[in-house]
């Protein structure tokens, strides 16, 4: 009876974070090596793992996240295997190794508590309601997991004078050393009367990468459900 499902058993652990399939994240938890994960992203766990929603550390850093709501992160501690997923979104696992990355709020799934992280507001983009209000800059030695609706694409900004423009709804993450600004790409005349579809973009310039998902669905499913 089990045979058709036999191929889906977890693979032996080889790293702190791994993909199980392309849509699920498997984290090897150890005591002393805690993890921050999105509230509601846990789908299964083995072993002894405790969850602390809205921990003081997060409250401190994310004071100005969203008024009136608790921080959308929980702290996971313990020993065992933890499985996370976000409504079938693709999961991308990154071993930072000293690099830094800036992640859009809705696309952050989990990261090691030992990493340096902070919440920053993207300048000039506060007008995007519902998303893009804040993003998380993470750096240090450790692991980060992102989600993406569909297989993401990584674009090199090239470092030249050419700017790269991204639909904020499709943006997943970018190198924090890139310069970011908002841009309205449609001529004013085309805005009059009829919606133009691509009203705002974020413009990136400098040396670094931008990660984009093939979907303009930026709904935060984990939050919507709660």
């Amino acid at each position: 009876m089990n045979q058709p499902l036999a191929g889906y058993a977890p693979a032996p652990v080889t790293a702190r974070m791994e993909n199980h399939g392309s849509h699920m994240l498997k984290v090897a938890m150890q005591t002393g090596n805690d993890l921050f994960a999105r509230v509601g992203s846990m789908v299964a766990y083995e072993g002894f793992i405790q969850y602390e929603p809205n921990p003081p550390a997060v409250r401190q850093i994310a004071r100005d996240w969203i008024t009136g709501e608790g921080a959308p992160l929980m702290k996971c501690a313990g020993d065992g295997l933890l499985y996370l997923a976000d409504y079938g979104a693709d999961v991308v696992v990154i071993n930072l190794g000293g690099d830094a990355i800036s992640v859009n709020a809705t696309n952050l799934l989990a990261f090691d508590a030992s990493l340096q992280w902070g919440v920053e507001r993207v300048k000039g983009l506060a007008k995007f309601a519902g998303q893009g209000l804040w993003n998380t800059k993470i750096s240090g030695q450790g692991w980060v997991a992102l989600t993406s609706r569909g297989k993401p694409i990584v674009v090199d900004c090239g470092g030249g004078e050419n700017e790269t423009y991204v639909d904020p709804d499709a943006l997943v993450a970018w190198s924090p050393n890139l310069k970011v600004k908002g841009k309205r790409s449609f001529k004013a005349q085309s805005l009059i009367g009829r919606g133009s579809g691509e009203a705002y973009q974020m413009a990136f310039s400098g040396t670094g990468i931008v990660v984009v998902q093939p979907s303009e669905d930026s709904t935060d499913r984990l939050r919507v459900r709660g």
Partner: protein
């Protein structure tokens, strides 16, 4: 995701990939047997009228290098690079064949395949195994042929005779022994150019296009490379050994056998392996009088002395090869010109990335999601994202509003109004479609709601696409909006756009679509239909009851579309009812 082909299946190459620079890999093996895998370039009468287009181990490329033999790599026993748009007009068909070298029959072969890789992604695979064959000693595996456009067909037809019988079948003659030698000679100077082919992804370290320029210099973590990186050693091994080598591609045998592999391995680009002229720096093979260092290989192509093949395959996979065979001699002398370029060349193909070793750092982790560099106007980045290079072709692109996810360069977006949109908006409420016009210089990435995208290249033919499934198209295409009315269709009518002319249209589907041939009894749900060939005539039929009847408040009558057309027409349906 590769499309699986069965024997007899055919498809247009443009349906598989937008690229014309293809990698064709053949994997065939059988215990104790070796295979010669060759490509015949045939004319319109299916004759080998020009034997320079018989690409095989002794003649590793056609004169203008549109067909090149690349050697064993990435798990393929033999591989070719085919550049479709450089194939001369007199060549109408490329037939890929495998012949048994020595005794044996095709029924002995294990599971094998012929696959096409384009842009680093496997797009087609025809799998076969020995049970489909009997006593044949040669088999035509697949054809890439020109019928209006280039197409691919999985053939799988066996021949009792060996390579000679195949040659006769194609009207060729068994070449004189000397023939390959001159063919070999002129290609030496040409070889360095091979890497410079435009539109072809560059060698690993040559960080030419910025898109590919990975910060980390070492080749290992570069996106398409990982599978290859460990494997270059097999490349210089002469073909007889490939039989032993190819099946376990992942074995990563560090090659002690030859002095040659290090030099090839260390070569940073494909040009480098050539710097040692074949047989020059290389220790001259004592037992090899023939130019290729393989005495038995020469006289009749198919027949070689059983000697080299005789040692059991296991020996080759190991670091220590059997002494009798693993001498330095065969690799340098024989394998030099065709195989020497492989380590460098291997990079662009990047067989599907299976086990990308995960390095640390953001760049390494995200490496497999790099944008794919090719000099095409439309380049699928993955199944759900497509890039249009406005600089190529120089014409604007019309796209559904809101479908742009990213752009680089100077691109102007403007509302595409009036005529077209007006017609649709005017006719229907709730079914409006708004377009934007992208002009300028630069690259624009389109995607929408993680739908699957399919670039369809029209060359004078026509296709009807449901308006909801149009994502973007070249402005050079003529289009007209058609309205299919039927009682029960949401909004009163189904809007379709008929495209005609030369250019590309990107169709989006929710999920993997199915392409059905039009038969007298082809019925399609009007909500799920995506596109159909314009020659098919649509009839609205509302007799067939559908499950939606069950919904309260529904009219109780579903609407299906029936198609009427000559054979050869098709309908595309998505697994999603809008």
């Amino acid at each position: 995701m590769p499309r699986e082909f069965q024997r007899g299946h055919k498809a247009r190459i443009s349906d598989l990939t937008a690229g014309t620079d293809l990698y064709v890999g053949v994997q065939i093996s059988a215990p104790g047997l070796t295979f010669d895998i060759s490509c015949f370039g045939l004319d319109a009468d299916e004759r080998l009228s020009d034997d320079r287009y018989f690409v095989f181990f002794n003649q590793p490329k056609s004169p203008e290098e549109s067909i090149q033999l690349l050697g064993a790599q990435a798990g393929d026993t033999e591989s070719f690079r085919v550049t479709l748009d450089r194939i001369p007009p007199q060549i109408h068909k490329l037939s890929f064949t495998a012949t048994i070298d020595g005794a044996g029959q095709m029924s002995q072969v294990g599971p094998g395949y012929l696959r096409i890789v384009a842009g680093g992604e496997e797009v087609a695979r025809y799998a076969f195994d020995g049970s489909e064959f009997s006593t044949e000693r040669a088999v035509m595996l697949g054809d890439i042929y020109l019928k209006d456009v280039w197409r691919f067909a999985a053939v799988g037809q066996g021949f009792d005779g060996g390579l000679e019988a195949l040659l006769k079948n194609f009207g060729g003659e068994v070449l004189e022994e000397e023939a390959p030698a001159p063919a070999q000679a002129p290609q030496q100077p040409q070889q360095p150019q091979t890497g410079g082919a435009p539109g072809f992804a560059p060698p690993i370290q040559a960080a030419a296009p910025p898109a590919f320029g990975v910060p980390s210099a070492p080749a290992a973590p570069t996106a398409p490379v990982p599978p290859q990186a460990p494997t270059p050693p097999p490349a210089p091994v002469p073909q007889p050994a490939a039989q032993g080598f190819a099946p376990p591609p992942g074995v990563t045998p560090p090659p002690p056998p030859a002095p040659q592999p290090p030099s090839v391995h260390a070569a940073p680009t494909i040009v480098a392996p050539l710097t040692p002229p074949p047989g020059g720096t290389v220790p001259p093979p004592p037992p090899a009088p023939a130019p290729y260092g393989h005495p038995g290989q020469q006289p009749p192509y198919g027949h070689q002395p059983p000697g080299p093949a005789a040692p059991p395959p296991p020996g080759y996979g190991q670091p220590t090869p059997p002494p009798g065979y693993g001498q330095p001699t065969p690799p340098p002398g024989y394998g030099q010109p065709p195989y020497g370029q492989v380590p460098g060349q291997a990079a662009p193909y990047g067989a599907p990335q299976t086990a990308a070793p995960q390095g640390t750092g953001v760049a390494a982790a995200l490496d497999k999601f790099k944008e794919t560099p090719t000099g095409q106007r439309w380049t699928p980045q993955n199944g759900k994202l497509i890039r249009a290079d406005l600089g190529i072709g120089g014409q604007p692109v019309l796209a559904r509003q809101g479908s742009m996810v990213l752009y680089q360069g100077k691109v102007d977006f403007s509302y595409k109004g009036a005529g077209f949109a007006g017609r649709i908006v005017g006719n229907a409420t709730g079914q409006e479609m708004q377009l934007m016009r992208c002009t300028g210089q630069g690259q624009v990435f389109f995607a929408e709601e993680s739908t699957h995208l399919h670039p369809v290249e029209l060359q004078g033919d026509a296709i009807c696409v449901s308006a909801e499934n149009v994502l973007a198209f070249d402005e050079s295409l003529q289009y007209e909006v058609r309205r299919i009315e039927g009682h029960g269709i949401p909004g009163g009518a189904l809007f379709t756009m008929q495209f005609q002319g030369t250019g590309t249209i990107v169709v989006k589907t929710h999920g993997t679509p199915v392409v059905l041939p039009v038969t007298p009894t082809t019925f399609v749900d009007s909500n799920a239909v995506v596109a159909w060939s314009a020659a098919a005539q649509v009839i609205v039929s509302s007799q067939v009851r559908m499950r939606r009847n069950a919904y309260p408040g529904h009219t109780g009558e579903g609407v299906n579309l029936q198609f009427r057309a000559a054979p050869g027409n098709f309908v595309v349906v998505q697994p999603y009812e809008v």
